[in-house]
Symmetry: C2
Subunit: 603 residues, 2 copies
């Protein structure tokens, strides 16, 4: 059994050299995020991840959360105590407004910390992930009264939050939401009574905290049909008195939890609203604007799921690497024949698998962290144009960070099992748990297809491809510089990146008009287009890293072995993975009509 | 819950039009395999698969096989009875020698039938799969005495067989086998006593039959080190009297079974030999030739695991398609706006996923069946040159059918989950079971890397790439013909196939010399090389299918909707998937050194 270790050197390299922590720390309000403070935070987070969360990961999978007669849920041994420590240590409010008890740190820092939580124990980390989303919704749209009653308790983690979107007939299509919210006739506090059933509610019930704050999509009686008639409500599990103490049990009940492929420790609840007279709910913001609010907070939740992809991929890589260093099997081809046996790390194909895992994980991480820093700049940069530019980059990248990182996490955790050979299929080994846990990430908070729809439509076609092309120009400029670099090690990286950027540009040129005139073919190309973006943007970040590493090597500044590893990893990615860009571009530009050529009967 | 249905129209098309059933039925000894007889067999197999095996698939996953105090194993409800019916119906001996009670049918027919077993219930089908291997070993190398005692009972399925290779220190590397076989001093029947422990023994213990016949690799006291000192022994669970009745319990005991990611109904046993004085075993063939015998039978087992890949992929596709036809969600882009909602089959990305599943499954199937027919020709063709030619093709294809089909089965079952959205992650839906079950197929009977080693070494480099190039010439000739076809529908398929064949040829040109001079880089390229072969060979078979379909359409001969579907599916594969060939070729020819550039410390 291996233990999770935060990849600290790599994380710091990405934060400092690629995401620009120093610049972020100069933004108004982030002055406390000095390199030293951030290093101390990362150190503490790393310890908490390895010492508290990681030891519970396998236990959580084995025991799972269990539904109890009466509607309560029992989380696995140790989880409640770990949550208490997590909240007490202030991890829940890392980026939150200090006015509400948060620490007001940049998203970039939270990105690194969240990666550690997900790497150590994804099922545990989902609870704060969802609470974040609920806090976000309240901060942005809640009344002062709602904020004063609920917000600081949620930021402290004394109460958790949930997001209640899905109903059995309303999954990806939230227009179909049917939960009703009726103004309370017996009260005069502006509250509503909610009736309906929500499914797939992560941590919809738990035994960590005394109260749970549900953010719920529902329709008022006068609401128009479809997406424009959905409002957002806050429904606490227990009513709250004016002094903050808990009052009566509200009429929202967990009627069951799901039996899932992975993340067993995370209870996925079916919640019944109003079976006993109506669940009291408070409107968040204005009526009929619920979906709009939900999308604001969903953006951050989607970004966080992308980080889950990074975390679980890193964990899977570490476990596979530890195994490969230990397991002795066979004679490795091409090595000294007097050595009778070797660890499997000496076998070329095991190296290929591990390097594929490592390179892709580093590419995903760099892209996520760079996007995290852009989120900070989009919020806080003193210059309005710069804010706008960063915001445009963030909007383009969020579906990519979510969609691509989670798809790649499947490949990485798949290889994590494969490196173990037969032992990978045995549950006790632990590699299979990562594979199972990772599987949800391409589904929740919007499937890969939903991310891809967003990417081709709102993020590419709507501005005629302008933002997309400006990012590609940046990639292409880097590629040109590296192709002409005096350092031979950078040249092949630049060359491959140039080809990949050209392939991506051809896809943008196809997507923009296709989205307008033949939207079905554009949608058929959307997921390959998302994967192409991720592939190239990831290669871009690794290439940037290689360029920095080459400079630091030349300056004799730091860990040469590490820097050489960065260059070699970027080159592997460039030569072995980036060639897929042309294949994806061809599938998009030539093959999209053929996706739609079959009639229903021909399937 | 959907039900498995054998894809009969497709299976018959592949058997008749691509694999040449009619020609196979002309081979000496296969005269009974007329189209009508084969159709009747397929019909019966299809019924047995849907009515008997499929209903047990989910039960088997839920209950799993369980180890009982005392060393017995309880299989899930219904499995024992299903096995009895399976054996009684004669399915176990389909291809086996009529002398031993078999039906002497061609491998091509068995290929189709096995696909159905695996599609309906992979965990069940593993038991006959392993028995086949044991029968094969005995038929080829067993003494008359061993054959007369054991063979007909195994062919009838009254007793099952196992293959005992792995020990905890000897997985992919069988040279490390330590189980000892000592000539019995207290008996004078030439028997041995075996001592040691074997792991990962599929159906190493079960409650289907009264006896189990283990084929076991072990070392005699005088054996040389390494692979040249391994012998093959037959060790029955119960000794057998001369009249065929069971005698004393032998000293082989199941000490535990594994808790696995999938195929829960299939007991994976740890077997202890000789803890109570020695397990009586009989030498199969000659001493020290065990590995050689094992490889002969492993070839067929590997081929069967490739068929498992086809079967589980087909099953996953059917389940996803059924769900997509039923599930109503959202408004599909680009369709009539007056229709408020659509089934998800109308969504372009769902069509892309389903078509990716369908096209790849059909490609895998066609390649496997064509290889199955080549096995028959290699055994029975009256012309010695033809036998040799077919044998060479079979040898090249077996690592591809095994390695590529099982890798693609991962992608297909992955998409099978994804089509279901959130429901895919819920175990009750069933899609996740296929995903978990499929996961073992790239590992057992030789991991993908082991197949790829075989492919680059023995199957490509050893003859200087001669057989590989001759197959590529055939592919290329077809591509040329189709590119120039008067039928416009075939032209793009021919064009894409031509590019893919050229990419494959460039990879062969790289692999042959690289294997000689720098074997580590060649090994680093081996899995991409295997995937490239599978991709192109699968596209080749779909292209052949499209060509036949176009001819039959022109002749107005048969189901036009089906034939048009074959052409459209082949075109999708050609335009959307075959472009990956160039990417893989580039990774192989340019990137292989970069796979090996990291030092151990840099991982």
């Amino acid at each position: 059994m291996s233990t999770y270790r935060a990849p600290m050197q790599e994380i710091k390299f990405v934060m400092n050299e690629l995401a620009g922590l120093e610049q972020v720390a100069k933004l108004p309000g982030y002055e406390d995020a000095t390199t030293d403070t951030v290093a101390a935070i990362l150190e503490e987070a790393s310890k908490f991840a390895s010492e508290v969360l990681d030891p519970l990961n396998a236990v959580g999978d084995r025991e799972g959360a269990t539904w109890q007669e009466g509607g309560s849920v029992k989380t696995p041994t140790g989880f409640k105590d770990a949550y208490r420590r997590f909240a007490e240590n202030g991890w829940n409010g890392l980026t939150k407004n200090p006015e509400h008890g948060g620490q007001g740190l940049p998203q970039l820092v939270a990105t690194a910390v969240e990666e550690m939580w997900h790497g150590a124990n994804m099922a545990f980390a989902l609870c704060p992930l969802l609470t974040q989303g609920a806090i976000e919704a309240l901060e942005l749209c809640g009344s002062d009264k709602l904020k004063s009653t609920f917000l600081s308790k949620m930021v402290e983690g004394v109460w958790t939050g949930t997001m209640n979107l899905t109903e059995s007939q309303a999954g990806s299509d939230l227009a179909a939401v049917r939960t009703r919210a009726v103004p309370s006739s017996d009260k005069h506090d502006g509250s509503y009574k909610l009736f309906g059933q929500k499914i797939f509610i992560t941590y919809g019930e738990q035994d960590y905290t005394d109260n749970i704050i549900h953010l719920v999509l529902a329709r008022t009686p006068t609401a128009p049909e479809g997406v424009k008639g959905i409002s957002l409500f806050l429904v606490p599990k227990f009513m709250v008195n004016d002094d903050g103490s808990l009052a009566a049990r509200n009429d929202v009940h967990c009627v069951s939890i799901e039996h899932k492929l992975g993340i067993h420790a995370s209870p996925t609840a079916v919640l019944a609203y109003g079976d006993h007279g109506g669940a009291v709910g408070y409107l968040v913001g204005e009526e009929n604007r619920g979906l709009e609010y939900m999308f604001i907070m969903m953006n951050l939740a989607r970004f966080s799921v992308g980080i889950e992809g990074v975390g679980i991929a890193e964990r899977s890589y570490q476990r596979a690497l530890d195994y490969a260093r230990d397991r002795v099997q066979g004679r490795a081809p091409g090595l000294d024949k007097t050595v009778p046996t070797a660890t499997i790390l000496q076998h070329p194909d095991v190296r290929r698998m591990l390097l594929t895992m490592k390179a892709q994980t580093e590419a995903m991480r760099a892209l996520a962290y760079v996007t995290g820093a852009a989120i900070d700049n989009a919020h806080r940069h003193p210059d309005a144009d710069a804010r706008k530019r960063h915001q445009a980059f963030v909007e383009l990248m969020i579906p990519i960070v979510k969609g691509w990182s989670t798809e790649i996490a499947q490949e990485v955790t798949y290889l994590g099992v494969q490196v173990h050979g037969g032992m990978g299929f045995i549950e006790e080994t632990g590699a299979a748990q990562h594979y199972r846990d990772a599987r949800i990430t391409t589904i929740y908070e919007g499937t890969t297809a939903i991310q891809a729809n967003d990417l081709i439509g709102r993020k590419t076609a709507r501005d005629g491809g302008a933002v997309a092309r400006s990012v590609i120009s940046e990639i292409s400029a880097l590629a040109t510089a590296m192709s002409g670099d005096a350092n031979d090690a950078l040249v092949p990286i630049g060359n491959e990146l140039q080809g990949a950027a050209a392939a991506l540009a051809s896809a943008v040129d196809w997507v923009v008009p296709a989205y307008g005139k033949s939207s079905r073919a554009a949608h058929a190309a959307s997921v390959p287009y998302l994967r192409l973006w991720g592939l190239v943007a990831g290669g871009w970040q690794l290439a940037r890293g290689a360029q920095v590493a080459a400079r630091l090597l030349a300056e004799n500044n730091g860990d040469a072995t590490f820097y050489r590893g960065k260059i070699a990893t970027a080159r592997f990615y460039a030569e072995c993975l980036l060639p897929q860009a042309a294949a994806l571009a061809r599938a998009i530009t030539v093959g999209s009509e053929s996706v739609l050529a079959l009639s229903d009967a021909q399937f």
